[in-house]
Symmetry: C2
Subunit: 63 residues, 2 copies
């Protein structure tokens, strides 16, 4: 399966926000995330970088 | 491999912009894309939706 883990970057730390994310849909200044288990999260934030081969998506909260 | 194809949505059409994308990095109002073959593209646009299990990323140009 080709989902990716979504990490929230805060300063120099990155913490796992949601694992095995399938869908990401930006909506205004929010991001809607849904993973392969049907778990959903919406955060006020933006995508900082994605490295799909590494299964990694880095997000930051909007200030 | 878990890269995804990036499509550019224009009205009701979607055309393939870059296949087998590994990295996407938003930079201001641009998106930097790099695929597993080392091909790179930068477009003035935004991510509309991502469905990683379907290997699909949809982008739109900024107006």
């Amino acid at each position: 399966m080709c989902e990716a883990n979504a990490y929230l970057r805060q300063g120099e730390k990155e913490e796992l926000l949601l694992e095995r994310v399938d869908k990401i849909i930006p909506q205004g200044n929010e991001l809607y995330l849904e993973n392969i288990f049907g778990q959903r999260k919406t955060i006020k934030g933006r995508i900082v970088e994605m490295a799909l081969v590494d299964h990694k998506i880095v997000l930051e909260r909007n200030e």
